[in-house]
């Protein structure tokens, strides 16, 4: 009885975490994909591992240290990107390797560190999410959604056309840092659910799925958030059927399956669309010919 209740609470925590990740990651992901930075999440994920290990080493909550280190990493990545030098590519690679190697090394040294713990951050361990984790994840998710709501209009212009953003007097440098920092927060939110190595999948796959079916930016983001939630909750449910199913991998594979499905459906949608537009153009041409 007590055991079952415990199970129940664990599941509730996991469900909340999955919901928050499913909502936030694709929302930020839409801007990031639009900005051609699909791999940004991967980079931040690598760096965040060092943050997690620092938490174990210093005895603070790994989620908090991961937030700090991944924000620092995201800012560094953005600064390198903004300089736009070819050497920036190599600089980023060095940062990523350093992040993973530093994380593994520090985790080895840390008193409570073990390979199992390392794995739970690399590949996610949604079943071990604590109440404290949920509070932090909830606060981060609120921050991410607030950024999207408040700055969405400006971020759309920035991610669509940076020059245009500049010529409209938008604070381009601030907004670029904002999107990078928001991505860092999202990585930390998703870290417990799908793991640092698969974090980016939830930022990119639902967006790629959604854009097969949509015409506009707003609808793409909305639908991507729906797909994100479906994948993360669906993957979590799948993992409750068998202990052999790792939730993180199940979530990502489910998202990928959705993408393949949307690819097929999207072809039909687009075919219908082109027919529609040729039909609507013809009468317009005739009117002009008469005039």
């Amino acid at each position: 009885m007590i055991f079952e209740l415990l199970q129940e609470q664990l599941f509730q925590l996991a469900l909340v975490a999955a919901l928050l990740v499913g909502l936030c990651a694709p929302a930020v992901g839409t801007f990031i994909v639009q900005r051609r930075l699909s791999l940004l999440g991967d980079g931040i994920g690598h760096v965040a591992l060092t943050g997690v290990a620092l938490g174990f080493l210093t005895g603070t909550a790994p989620v908090l240290t991961a937030v700090i280190v991944s924000i620092a990493g995201a800012v560094a990545i953005e600064l390198v990107r903004a300089r736009g030098r070819t050497s920036g590519d190599v600089a980023l690679a060095l940062l990523f390797y350093g992040g993973i190697a530093g994380g593994v090394m520090l985790m080895g040294i840390a008193p409570g560190g073990s390979t199992a713990k390392l794995n739970s951050y690399l590949f996610g361990a949604i079943a071990s999410v604590t109440v404290e984790d949920i509070w932090i994840i909830g606060a981060l998710a609120a921050a991410v959604i607030a950024v999207v709501l408040i700055f969405g209009r400006e971020l759309f212009v920035l991610c669509q056309d940076e020059e245009m953003a500049k010529a409209s007097g938008l604070p381009v440098r601030f907004l670029s840092l904002l999107i990078a920092v928001t991505a860092a927060l999202t990585v930390v939110i998703a870290m417990r659910v799908v793991g640092l190595l698969l974090v980016s999948a939830l930022m990119v796959i639902p967006v790629a799925t959604s854009q097969q079916l949509t015409r506009g930016f707003r609808t793409t983001m909305g639908l991507a958030m729906l797909f994100g939630v479906l994948a993360s909750v669906g993957g979590l449910l799948a993992s409750t059927y068998s202990a052999k199913v790792p939730p993180g991998a199940a979530i990502v594979l489910l998202a990928l399956a959705g993408f393949v499905l949307a690819l097929g459906v999207g072809k039909f949608v687009r075919r219908g669309r082109t027919q529609e537009s040729t039909l609507s153009e013809r009468p317009q041409l005739r009117v002009e010919e008469i005039a």
Binding site: T30, V33, Q34, R35, R36, L37, S38, I150, F151, R153, E154, F156, V157, C159, Q160, D161, E163, M164, A165, K166, A167, S168, G169, L170, V207, Q211, T214, R215, G216, F217, R218, T220, R273, T274, S277, S280, Q284
Partner: protein, 259 residues
């Protein structure tokens, strides 16, 4: 004293030590319709980008409505039409979404889209005859239609000055004529226009001044002769001598320009 839209003094720009602009003096007064002309690589695109502060000057100075671009705040006064539409990383955006983004300089962060925003977007879409495509993704439009989206985006912002980088390049005759008609309306409303062009085509009659750039310098400035600083005179009447004799005259300089 009335303000100037743009004022560049001894503007110099070099890329990796190679000079692209070599001392440009250019003042654009309100109500002028200035065509920046020149061969490819003459520096005309760099010049408009510098006027907007998108490319920093390496020497000299430039002012937008009396303020250096870095400190300029009233960006709603400027409507920039870039050479081509950036579609980003493949996330679709509808024609209406892109056109509505032209309002960004007029919108405050926490305010929702207002009725005025919606009306401006609707009339901009009407002006470029894309109202029936408003819900379609911009990625699905032809090059000429995308150019019209860019113009509508600038129109939606209801600026005082339009800056257009080759709005007629690679655009079908119909869109060129549409652009000319739209510009004529703007000129009538007293707007200022600075546009880069390779050839003027149907725009010719509305241009009041042709500035030819050659190797980073102004080789010819076809401004109709009138006393210096008369744009500073409040309430002055603008003469449009080119409207009466559209071909030849001060613009002949660029027509024999090598490509």
């Amino acid at each position: 004293m009335s303000e100037t839209a743009f004022a560049m003094t001894d503007g110099r720009v070099s890329f990796d030590g190679k000079p692209v602009l070599r001392g440009i003096d250019l003042t654009v007064c309100p109500g002028e319709v200035v065509a920046l002309l020149g061969a490819n690589g003459s520096g005309k695109s760099t010049l408009v980008r510098t006027l907007l502060g998108l490319t920093p000057l390496t020497g000299g100075r430039t002012l937008v409505y009396g303020t250096p671009p870095a400190r300029f705040r009233d960006w709603w006064r400027i409507g920039y039409v870039p050479q081509r539409l950036q579609v980003g990383g493949g996330v679709p955006a509808t024609v209406r979404e892109v056109v509505a983004s032209g309002r960004i300089a007029r919108q405050s962060r926490l305010r929702r889209t207002s009725a005025a925003d919606k009306a401006a977007v609707a009339s901009a879409l009407e002006a470029v005859r894309l109202a029936d495509r408003a819900g379609d993704p911009v990625q699905s439009l032809s090059g000429g239609q995308q150019q019209r989206v860019l113009i509508a985006r600038a129109l939606a912002g209801e600026p005082d000055t339009y800056v257009m980088d080759e709005p007629t390049a690679g655009v079908d005759a119909e869109t060129q004529q549409l652009l000319a008609d739209t510009l004529a309306g703007l000129v009538e409303a007293g707007k200022t226009v600075v546009l880069v062009a390779h050839e003027l085509g149907p725009l010719e009659p509305i241009i009041t001044r042709g500035v030819v750039i050659r190797e980073g310098r102004i080789a010819h400035d076809g401004r109709p002769p009138r006393p210096e600083g008369d744009c500073a005179r409040p309430g002055h009447e603008h003469q449009h001598p080119h409207a009466e004799e559209p071909v030849g005259g001060p613009l002949t300089g660029w027509q024999g320009e090598p490509r």
